[in-house]
Amino acid sequence: MTYLEAIADGLRHAMRADASVILFGEDVGVYGGAFKLSKGFLEEFGPSRVIDTPICEAAIVGTAVGAALVGLRPVVEMQFADFISNAFTQVVNAAATSAYRAGGCVPMVVRAPCGAGTHGGPFHSQSIEGYFFHTPGLKIVMPSTPADAKGLILGAIADPNPVLYLEHKALYRSQRGPVEDGLTIEPLGRATVRRAGRDLTLLTYGMMAHRSLEAAERAAAGGIETEVIDLRTLLPLDLDTIAESVARTSRALIVHEDRLRGGIGAEIAAHLGEHLFTSLDAPIARIGAPDTPVPYAPPLETAYLPSVDRIYDAITRLARW
């Protein structure tokens, strides 16, 4: 099953299991979604549960908040993650503060196809997790494999809090893998070790999990054993799994597609510096995108994205420190 099919499979199982799970957004019904992820959903679940909306991201997220408050479990789609900036206040001010302000639980999932590598240019390629990582009350997940794509969409729907579910467009059809049948819920908040290793810890997620694994295999040919941890849930971070690994390997490399400045890697590095300083044998290293919008032309976009070569170089440099 592909990554895209796995998301759809999870969503379909959730909608079959519970009539309060609904899907709405731009072009999700008749057209089946811009990426055809919800193809067949309108036919199976009908127009009262699979709803095409006008172009109105703020109202889409806002209505999801309202529907969640009266007991539904809405899943809404931002056609591209970039478009969620139009709905920023509904995510950070309405949904995310609701529990703390005693406004009630908002079990809402915002699906957002994100990431570069598909030549989408500045407004169809963004990584948006950094904007929302600063928000208390919100959860953010980003799967890298088909199994996690399904487990985490179900975990996001099962969670009683607002969840930003980031699905990487470049993984939609490039990743295939085994996916279990049924309601295979993966609870949020747990990182996973993709590759065990003793020499350094590489912390990553999303598309970069695949590039990191490729770089780690290449480094292994030279005798460097890298432990690759896929964070999966970005907010809240699984700091226990991160700390346990780094305390053991004494070296940490953080790789993400999002820009470095003020990003998730910066937070992880600060945490490790504060809490594991005496365990570290080398400076914490980070790889991410430069401080530019996402460019369109392939030579620029390729240079923008962290490459396997860059990750490999960072692994070897860190291991030899």
């Binding site: 609904i22 806002g62 908040v65 309202g66 408050l69 539904l72 809405p74 302000r101 005693a102």
Partner: protein, 338 residues
Amino acid sequence: MTDDTRTEPPAAVAPDLTPADLERLYHYMLLQRLAEERVVKLYQTGQIVGACFTGWGHEAIAVGAAAALGPDDVAATLHRDLGARLVLGMPLGYYFANFLGRTGSPTRGREGNLHIGGLGPRILLHTDFVGGNVPIAAGAALGFTVRKEPRVAMANFGEGTLATGEFHEAVNMAAVLRLPLVLVCWNNQFALSTPLAREVVGPLDVRMAAYGVESCSVDGNDVLAVYRAARDAVSCARTGGGPSFIEGRTMRVRGHSEADDASYVPRAMIEEGRRRDPVERFARHLAETGAATAARLDEMRAQALAEVDEAQAWAEASPPPDPAELEHGVYCEAAPWP
């Protein structure tokens, strides 16, 4: 009792209100007025540390619109609609506890003034972005439609909201999907210091009709006119007619908040607004029509005042939050699903 008729809703039927219903409307209007008088005193004597907003002069819209809702209907609220919340079942003690930052309020001191949402199933999440509350109300209406429940969502907002993008998005979507939504616009002529003419061009009800929603404009200081319009709108929503818009024309007779002296508002407008005071007008109407004697009105006032005293005392007896609670409750606790 109408002394301002422009475009009353067409062929409004008699309100069909019993004397008890009329007293109920007056009770909540009076309760809002007396509670707000008290809160202003608390603010002026330094006992309220944050901002202090009132709905002074807007009691007819607050109470008249909410009174038209059925027992399972919900509302998205405004920072001036105490009367509406009381009609919907919010205990008055929460109002004082929230202003005073006490744990007796459901917000437990995390929110101030009238920012209390999530009260049982009837009062929706409140945010300070009033335009942003309209999609939330539309979402509740969407939820009722999905579940095929004959329930209605109401949104209270000021005329300044018509300038916001989220209001437009939500009304457009509600109209397209024919959601059971009632939009109650409190046109009090000013958005902080900005007068209506600098907020929106043209009559509000005409603009809103162009969205494809039922639209009317009523005297917002006449509780029966508001009630009638809201009852028709609620009925339209409940029977599949889609969203409606009601403009209640009123006047903000105090500052935006109690920190604002409203010196930019022409005196004549404030004086005219005070002359049309909705609470006094309705009391007069009840006396003139024989619905309530002067003695009964006095009795009701004493009773409302006693409720205010009791609510204030309850809130003051409620402890302030413990700083150890600071980081509690950011997330909802997991409940098993499905």
